[in-house]
């Protein structure tokens, strides 16, 4: 490799290395998921590339939170200045160490997020010029006591990634639950998705509850009531109308009993198209058909195009020299063979006693040379 080639190689590798820092960014977002704050710092390549976001983040919650009962944490973000895509991601965290900092790590369960999932990191796509938004999480603590919550934001803008996290924790105290408080069962997990064109029957398990009302709303719509039936002790079912297109709906339950009335948080329910189905036998048959058809076609084509070679394992002509005359060694061998192959002259008395012609042909020379009794019998 000469000097110029080395220079070009170094330049090429340098361009690749420089490009990787920006190429590793994910301007289209990274999707909702359970993520540590470390992701917010590093998911866009080198964390050192992050600029500080000027957004203002504010967390809020109901005044009273009970351990074991779902509650809503709302994050309001203002003063947003986003990239042209309008994609912004929000984190709900319980510390800012960068690892093991999700609510789940602190004993809080995320039952629902505002996108219809159950992730601590959710993304939104805002319209151009929109400088304010809010996201919410329905969470449930398994333990009593204080927990500091933090919020973080991650977005693009001015060809750079931006990141910010709240500097102080928002303390939420989970109190001991009163004995007779009407409430959802401790192990209740809200349904998060449903299929299009089919009415949804919600099944609720409650405790210390004598009656239930279920309310629902779509974005920007009025609050509606659903029909609720009881199917046993503290078991309720509510029917929500079918969704005609993929969209989210929010619902909540108002629980009444001996204790004070309780209203659950708004749970998000996302309508999706029915699962995709296909006849698996037809797929496997077509897959194997493709395999054999292509392999067979290649073999048939190659066997047709390849020039045929007439060969035999008995044919050893390729071992012989091109011209026998040209090889003196072969010539001398053949001459020798010619001399030895001549039959020895018969003695005066004819064939020795007991010899036949065939024996004389092969061993006559030896007889005359005396190898059989000095040449004379």
């Amino acid at each position: 490799m000469n000097f110029n080639q080395r220079v070009y190689t170094v330049l090429f590798l340098s361009i690749l290395l420089i490009g990787s820092a920006y190429g590793a960014a994910e301007p289209g977002g990274n999707g909702d998921a359970t993520r540590d704050m470390q992701c917010g710092g590093a998911c866009h390549g080198d964390a050192a590339l992050n600029e500080t976001s000027l957004a203002t983040l504010t967390l809020s919650s109901p005044s009273t939170v009970y351990a074991g009962i779902p509650t809503t944490l709302t994050l309001t973000a203002t003063n947003l200045s986003l990239s042209s895509t309008g994609v912004v991601g929000f984190f709900l965290l319980t510390d800012t160490t960068g690892h093991s900092d999700t609510p789940q790590d602190a004993g809080w369960e995320i039952l629902s997020d505002s996108n219809g999932g159950s992730a601590n990191y959710v993304e939104q796509t805002l319209s151009s010029g929109q400088a304010e938004t809010s996201v919410s999480w329905v969470v449930r603590s398994s333990n009593e006591g204080f927990t500091p919550f933090y919020a973080a934001i991650h977005h693009g803008g001015s060809s750079k990634p931006f990141f910010a996290v709240t500097s102080t924790g928002y303390d939420v105290e989970a109190k001991e639950i009163p004995e007779n408080l009407p409430r959802l069962a401790a192990d209740f997990i809200p349904q998060s998705t449903r299929i299009l064109d089919v009415p949804t029957v919600l099944t609720l398990q409650t405790e210390f509850t004598e009656s239930v009302q279920v309310q629902w709303k779509v974005e920007g719509g009025a609050v509606m009531s659903a029909q609720v039936n009881t199917s046993g002790d503290n078991m309720w079912s509510a029917t929500l109308p079918a969704a005609l297109q993929p969209a989210t709906l929010q619902w909540r339950a108002v629980l009444q009993g001996e204790g004070p009335d309780q209203t659950t948080p708004w749970f998000t329910l996302t309508a999706e198209e029915a699962g995709w189905e296909i006849e698996e036998f037809a797929v496997y048959l077509q897959a194997f058909s493709l395999l054999f058809l292509i392999a067979g076609a290649v073999l048939a084509l190659q066997s047709r195009l390849t020039p045929r070679e007439v060969s035999s394992k008995y044919d050893q002509t390729d071992l012989l020299p091109l011209s026998l005359d040209a090889d003196p060694a072969i010539e001398s061998v053949t001459e020798g063979l010619s001399e030895e192959s001549e039959t020895a002259p018969l003695p005066a008395g004819g064939l020795p006693n007991g010899w036949n012609e065939d024996q004389w042909k092969w061993y006559g020379h030896d007889y005359l040379a005396g190898k059989y009794g000095g040449g004379q019998e």
Partner: protein
């Protein structure tokens, strides 16, 4: 005991790595046999590398396919991307098997004419391309993005033939395979 997901990742990396090297070597073989590159002593080198890595990738492919099916979320083929992955991987295997058997049975005679050399190299490249597309579809399925997304390939669309057509195709394929094998045996230099 490792999970099917981990096993799928391992086997997929083996397949993609092997087929990538094989594809690159077939490209060099093509350039060498078309005299675009004039390096006679490189021919056996790339010939050996291309076919050895192809054989290695081919051996790892069934493990990747089976572990992929068992590690996919949900039951069975519940996404058009998974179906297209299946078709692409089987297509790649078909090309690879054709190339491998041709080289095995015909030995050096696959390079005897520019036609056979071109067919051998193009088919090897097709095997490599099919496998890389399969891996790309896997990235789209798992992460929603892939390097080949710039091509806007219709992974969400499945071209599924009627069962009868697939059955006929299978029969023709087996017939061609047997016919090609017999013709190669008749002309083979391997006794």
């Amino acid at each position: 005991m490792i999970s099917p997901e981990t096993f799928h990742v391992v086997s997929t990396e083996l397949v993609v790595g092997a087929f990538s090297v094989s594809g690159l070597s077939f490209l060099f073989c093509l350039l060498l046999h078309l005299d675009v590159l004039k390096k006679e002593d490189w021919k056996p080198l790339f010939d050996n590398v291309a076919h050895f890595t192809l054989a290695f990738g081919l051996a790892a492919t069934p493990f990747a396919v089976l572990s992929g099916l068992s590690s996919a979320p949900g039951d069975g083929l519940n996404s058009p991307i998974l179906v297209n992955k299946m078709f692409l991987s089987m297509t790649g295997m078909g090309f690879a098997i054709g190339v491998f058997i041709s080289r095995w049975r015909l030995s050096q005679r696959v390079w005897a004419t520019s036609k056979t050399a071109t067919v051998q190299c193009i088919t090897g490249l097709a095997a490599c391309g099919s496998m890389l597309l399969t891996a790309s579809a896997g990235g789209t399925f798992l992460r929603g993005e892939s390097l080949i997304d710039v091509l806007s390939l219709p992974y969400e669309t499945v071209l599924l033939f009627p069962t009868a057509i697939s059955g006929i195709g299978l029969a023709i394929g087996i017939g061609l395979l047997v016919l090609g094998w017999l013709r190669m045996n008749a002309a083979s230099s391997v006794h």
